[in-house]
């Protein structure tokens, strides 16, 4: 279906900032072939698809299971929210503990 019908949420990172963020080693963005397990245990509290991406969210687990990469992006540590991308899906996970561990790991 048309990408047109799923407009970018205004609060979300733009593609351009994503590219910059992902490309910058210092940014807290991680890519893992299979990394969702570690995050998943700690993140059981709140996992929700981004409002604009619910249609694609169901594809995430199958994409990861098929070996597709999973990318986690932390735009704002204070929010405790992580954007998780895999396949063509985008899910927002709220997990302040994981965010704290990640930010601590890159200090």
């Amino acid at each position: 279906m048309s990408a047109q019908s799923h407009p970018e949420p205004t609060e979300g990172p733009s593609r351009r900032t994503m590219l910059r963020g992902a490309g910058a080693v210092g940014a807290v963005g991680i890519a893992a072939a299979v990394g969702v397990g570690a995050a998943g245990g700690a993140a059981a509290a709140a996992t929700r698809p981004a409002a604009d991406d619910r249609a694609a969210a169901g594809a995430e687990h199958s994409a990861v299971a098929a070996g597709a990469p999973l990318v986690v992006y932390l735009r704002d540590a204070a929010s405790g929210e992580l954007d998780v991308f895999s396949g063509t899906s985008h899910t927002v996970i709220r997990d302040p503990a994981l965010v704290a561990r990640l930010t601590h790991a890159v200090r």
Binding site: M1, A3, Q4, P7, E8, G29, F85
Partner: protein, 460 residues
């Protein structure tokens, strides 16, 4: 340019950079409409060994709105896949390419076409081969025939082509981007007191020997329209067309694989409907934002259409040449003529025998009244030249959109909405000095209408 490198971010991403959109009733198959979306601007034909190709990681789409709300009712989506026969050679081809399945052709590209309508998506073409780029007499000795093999018939009488074509859009970039100089009138330019030009000169077509990549569809008209009466005066005969390119939200350089890794939903990074809309009307700081938005958001930018910056520049750059335009601009008069042409379509009773109005929703779409038959004697100036089958009634490959839009912005179309306004004499005369004859290879009489691409050998 029409939309080549028109915004800061997309200018760094050529495979996703839309350059031109065309929509017209096919002159040789008038029961069909031809839609063309061009990408990858300013291709030097000799650009090997990795000759140009569509982005395997880009979602290309052509959208059609048939009920005037600025949202697509019908979308054709294109995804490409590059396949190497032999990754152990540096060569694009290892001998002459005489067919689309030539064993000598190493780097080939294939694509799928998906039609989305009423919430359902159906793949209507798969594994369709693109033609190679036009390299030269040894590599692609029968290029026109070879490229013609890449015109595919798919579902419901639709023809499709995706591949390299000669650039059909003509424009004097060198002069226009030199502070809006127009060579045929350059002695009238203020020249900032430098007195560089003392006499007129001929225009120079900066795109004359360059190629683009085209995605072209020829579709039965009945497939594009909403139900209703489909005469020239009927709203249901009008469609709005635009193209978009989208990328996945995340790209990471994977240094294990030595390639980019993509993830996440697709997001729009390029959009194009009317030529020059984003290029000339939208200010630099908003161009990439505009590219990311749907046409339904164009009301946010309507003030740039109503008060175009270029209309204010012309009287300043050409002193005493546009006195009536200068008064119009100084009075702060909103340009209802441009708003109609670009944002809503032209209602009935404005131009005799013509309408392409889609309603009050302001949206940049290329609007085509599909009931208007192709002209037997086309005029590249389209509607302002008395040819109702040309721009801004859709756009044909040879339409002189630079001259048309220059003249419109200069005020020649103001009397459509204000009979008391008298355009300056210069408004009906300005041009960058080019015509369709400035395109050296010309155009084709049949699908995909844009000319055979220039070869690298003959255009090094």
């Amino acid at each position: 340019m029409s939309s080549h490198r028109e915004a800061p971010e997309i200018s760094k991403d050529p495979v996703a950079d839309s350059t031109d959109v065309y929509a017209f009733v096919s002159p040789d198959r008038p029961d069909t409409v031809t839609l063309i979306a061009n990408y990858i601007p300013l291709q030097g034909p000799a650009g090997g060994p990795n000759f140009y190709s569509f982005g395997d990681d880009v979602l290309y789409e052509i959208h059609i709105d048939n009920d005037g709300n600025g949202q697509d009712n019908l979308t054709y989506a294109f995804r490409f896949q590059t396949k190497l026969r032999d990754p152990n050679t540096f060569l694009y081809n290892t001998g002459p390419i005489l067919s689309l399945d030539s064993p000598n052709w190493n780097s080939r590209q294939f694509y799928s076409v998906t039609r989305s309508q009423h919430g359902k998506s159906v793949v209507i073409g798969e594994n369709l081969p693109c033609p190679p780029c036009n390299i030269g007499p040894l590599s692609t000795p029968h290029y026109a025939t070879l490229a013609n093999e890449a015109v595919h018939g798919i579902a419901n009488g639709i023809k499709v082509f995706a591949g390299q074509r000669a650039e059909g859009f003509y424009v004097d970039l060198g002069s226009i981007f030199d502070l809006a100089n127009l060579r045929p009138f350059e002695e009238l330019h203020a020249q900032y007191g430098m007195h560089v030009f003392s006499k007129p000169a001929d225009g120079v077509n900066a795109t004359a020997q360059l190629n683009v990549h085209s995605i072209a569809l020829q579709i039965p008209t009945s497939e594009l329209l909403r139900p209703g009466k489909h005469g020239e005066a009927d709203p249901a005969s009008v469609i709005g067309v635009w193209t978009t390119a989208s990328r996945q939200r995340v790209t990471v350089w994977d240094d294990w694989q030595g390639e980019n890794l993509n993830a996440g939903p697709f997001r729009q990074v390029s959009r194009l409907g009317n030529p020059l809309f984003n290029e000339v009307l939208i200010p630099l700081g908003s161009k990439d934002l505009w590219n990311s938005l749907p046409p339904t958001d164009d009301k946010r930018f309507a003030s740039y259409v109503a008060h175009p910056e270029l209309a204010g520049l012309l009287p300043a750059l050409y002193p005493d040449v546009f006195p009536n335009l200068e008064k119009l601009v100084k009075a702060g008069t909103a340009r209802a003529d441009l708003e109609a042409i670009l944002l809503t379509g032209i209602p009935s009773d404005i131009v005799k025998g013509f309408q392409n109005y889609t309603g009050p929703e302001q949206a940049d779409m290329l609007r085509l009244n599909t009931a208007i038959k192709p002209s037997k004697k086309p005029n590249a100036l389209g509607v302002i030249g008395g040819d109702l089958a040309g721009f801004p009634n859709g756009r044909r490959v040879f339409d002189d959109v630079v001259t048309i839009e220059l003249r419109a912005i200069a005020g020649v179309t103001v009397p459509l909405v204000d009979k008391t306004y008298k355009p300056d004499a210069a408004a009906g005369a300005i041009t960058d000095g080019l015509t369709a004859k400035s395109v050296p290879g010309g155009y084709l009489d049949n699908f995909p209408y844009l000319g055979v691409p220039h070869s690298g050998f003959s255009t090094p």
